[in-house]
């Protein structure tokens, strides 16, 4: 009996396909009905059997429709992609069932049973998530303790900085040669001034807001932005130093890079908050945020140097030789020939470094700067809003996920683009 069932060399494979499809769809239907509508088609069977029945039925169904070529497009597609052998069919069923089973509870928690109306804890009556909590705390998560009526300053500063970043694309062709100069030197200075005068205030009739009040996601961006623009020149110098043929410079660069790459960021932050003040002159006070930015820049500079070194190494030797044969000196060769080519190759690497930097920035929470992780911890322990840690962390995770995913896709695309150009 079994032999005739599994022997598909007969010409009437059509019946097998029909039976297989029927069994497969029954098994899926059973799971869907049970997990979405709590209807159990097989409740007349003993519990343990009714649990495994869809798996068995689906497995038999997939086994029956597995055929080399049927001529029916959708079945061939199934066979080719999810049903190549018994083991694959089994895993396919497990994954389908897991997805189907997980969908209703997560959907109902996140959407159908969730609350978003109201502005206090009492509004959350459903069994699902309490998005009211996120809604009420939204401004705090974004801007920290920054005064509510001054949030426009942070927004304006960000828009300005981003706008200036795109400025380079609109330059005329005869000005394009100054692009590198603009991005490496002029842009950081302008961005610094914009952020300093707009967000800090203190002049031009703007109220002074001390850095202790900065926080939330905007602080994450400020810290990672400054660290990126400062660590880039540092990394460039270190990368050139590491490839220098002067032994003393090389040893110092290698020592620096290996030191910072060997220690965790959290100890660097501890260093910036407890050890660094000891190293400064007595009456010299430095803001905590500035210290943290310096520490992260020193740390990230080492990673940046390694990324740039990768670009320098991937240039063919001929480029160096050609530049030298034209009588160029070390600096002339690097500024006009090597770096313009190498830096283009390095952009994806820098992008990944920046991605790592953004993901590391929440750590500044451990030295008491209230960026988004810090604000979440604050909101979570607020007596009026106890018990909503889950919503807060999921919200932050979604935001970070979107940012990091977009950046990683962007850097991946860049990598592919430059791969084909060379």
């Amino acid at each position: 009996m079994i032999n005739t069932l599994t022997d598909k060399k007969t010409s009437n494979y059509y019946y097998y396909l029909l039976a297989g499809l029927f069994l497969f769809s029954i098994s899926i239907l059973d799971v869907v009905l049970y997990s979405f509508f709590k209807i159990n088609l097989t409740n007349f069977l003993p519990d343990i059997l009714s649990l495994f029945l869809p798996l068995i039925i689906g497995f038999v169904g997939l086994h029956l429709i597995r055929i080399e070529y049927s001529g029916i497009k959708s079945i061939d597609l199934i066979n080719k992609n999810i049903n190549t052998n018994n083991f694959n069919a089994f895993l396919t069923l497990l994954i389908i069932f897991a997805i189907v089973k997980a969908t209703p509870p997560s959907l109902s928690w996140m959407i159908f049973d969730a609350n978003i109306s109201g502005d206090s804890k009492e509004a959350c009556t459903g069994t699902g998530a309490c998005w009211t909590y996120v809604k009420v705390w939204f401004r705090r998560f974004m801007y920290g303790m920054y005064p509510n009526d001054l949030h426009w300053r942070i927004n304006t500063a960000f828009i300005l900085v981003i706008g200036l970043g795109f400025f380079g694309f609109f330059l005329k062709d005869n000005l394009k040669k100054y692009l590198a100069l603009y991005y490496v030197i002029i842009y950081p200075i302008i961005a610094f001034l914009v952020i300093y005068y707009l967000i800090s205030g203190g002049s031009f009739g703007l109220v002074w807001v001390e850095t202790g009040a900065w926080g939330g996601l905007s602080l994450t961006f400020i810290v990672s932005f400054f660290c990126l623009i400062f660590c880039f020149p540092l990394g460039m110098i270190l990368a050139l130093g590491r490839r220098s043929n002067l032994p003393m410079i090389r040893y110092i660069s290698v020592g620096y890079i290996e030191f910072w790459r060997g220690v965790p960021l959290i100890t660097v932050l501890f260093m910036s908050s407890v050890m660094f003040p000891m190293f400064l002159p007595e009456d010299f006070f430095m803001d905590k945020l500035v210290r943290v930015i310096i520490a992260i820049t020193l740390f990230e500079g080492a990673y940046c140097a390694e990324a740039i070194r990768g670009g320098l190494q991937s240039l063919p030797r001929g480029q160096y030789d050609a530049a030298k044969s034209l009588g160029m000196g070390y600096w002339k060769m690097h500024i006009f020939v090597i770096l313009p080519q190498a830096l283009k190759l390095v952009i994806p690497g820098i992008c990944n470094t920046f991605l790592a930097l953004v993901k590391d920035t929440p750590l500044i929470f451990v030295v008491g700067l209230a960026e988004i992780a810090g604000m979440l911890a604050l909101a979570k322990t607020n007596p009026k809003w106890l018990g909503f840690a889950m919503e807060g962390y999921i919200f932050a995770a979604i935001i970070f996920w979107i940012i990091c995913y977009a950046m990683s896709k962007y850097s991946y695309n860049l990598e592919n683009k430059y791969k084909t150009e060379r």
């Binding site: 895993l91 060997g262 100890t267 002159p281 992780a373 962390y393 932050a396």
Partner: protein, 383 residues
Amino acid sequence: MNNKIKRYIPQILTLLFVIGVIGFFTLNAQVNMDNRGIDFGFGFLKQESSFDVQFSLIEYSGSHSYARAYLVGLLNTLLVSFISIIFCTILGVIIGVSRLSSNFLIRNSAAWYVEFFRNIPLLLQIFFWYYAALRALPLPEKAAPWFGVTYMTIKGYYIPSFIWNNLDIFLYSILAVIICILFISTYAKKLRETSGKQIPLFFISIGLLIVLPALSFLIGGVSLDFEIPVLKKLSQTSYTYEGGIGLPPELIALVLALSLYTSTFVAECVRAGIQGVSKGQKEAAASVGLTPNQILKLVIMPQALRIIIPPTTNQYLNLTKNSSLAAAIAYPDLVLVFAGTALMQTGKAIEIVSITMLTYLSISLAIAALMNWYNKKIEIKEK
């Protein structure tokens, strides 16, 4: 002459600059410490620490020294790194291989797993597990047993502990097995090279691994008891488990987050490694007449491992460094115990932060040195 000067001047200037910066900092530190009446020195390591650590692998209490506290922290760091490395390797290999599966669903689930866990900051993941997910677990008195003898509660995971009698004999038997297997594998290799005969090395090894330790139980007087955790009432409303081993929730959250996060990177390494072996190798091996198993074992894996191992070690190193995030959820690791509590008590900022950094640095450098040696060893020797 001119050339020589050109070479030396930049080097001397750089050196002077570095020495100048270090000198400036040292001078400031000297002045600052004099002003605050702190003296520099490592004598505090021998003093009594007088703080308690809630989870430690070695015996520790407030009457022990700061050096002992350092050791407690270091061991806790190594423990959490070790457990996470094991889990992230298992997960990473499974996900990495799944990403190359011919099955559309498996391939895409693995890809989404990687994209999902890689793009959320590790700190948030740790917080999520610790503050959100593990807080939803039942109280000790309401916990239902897992596998009959282990209890997952809000206060931690309670598992039975082993009580060995004559543990040393058992360890000797394991040692004997290892020596036997090494000896037999050398012999098998020799036999294969001289006469072409194959002996089933794998099954012999498994057999030895079962037989000798079993003999140590039967004859050597080794015996094994379990101490099962038992619910105990502390007061009217508070319960706990006595006996067995209690793994604190901090450890569980940390291991979960670290292994899920790092497994995505390990998976990418594994995928890159397997993809790095050219298809021609597989086809060539098949055309020589090797079986699929032999192809995997003798042709694909040795080449793939050469690509996989260096970046994976790097990920292990990152994991060990990332385990310092433990401080954020108060798991007593090196950073929390030493750079946190001990620093607060002694105020020896420079000494303690330097010791902590140097510890991590030496772990990193040791592994990097090992890796360089390994890379040199497995390098394909080309002309």
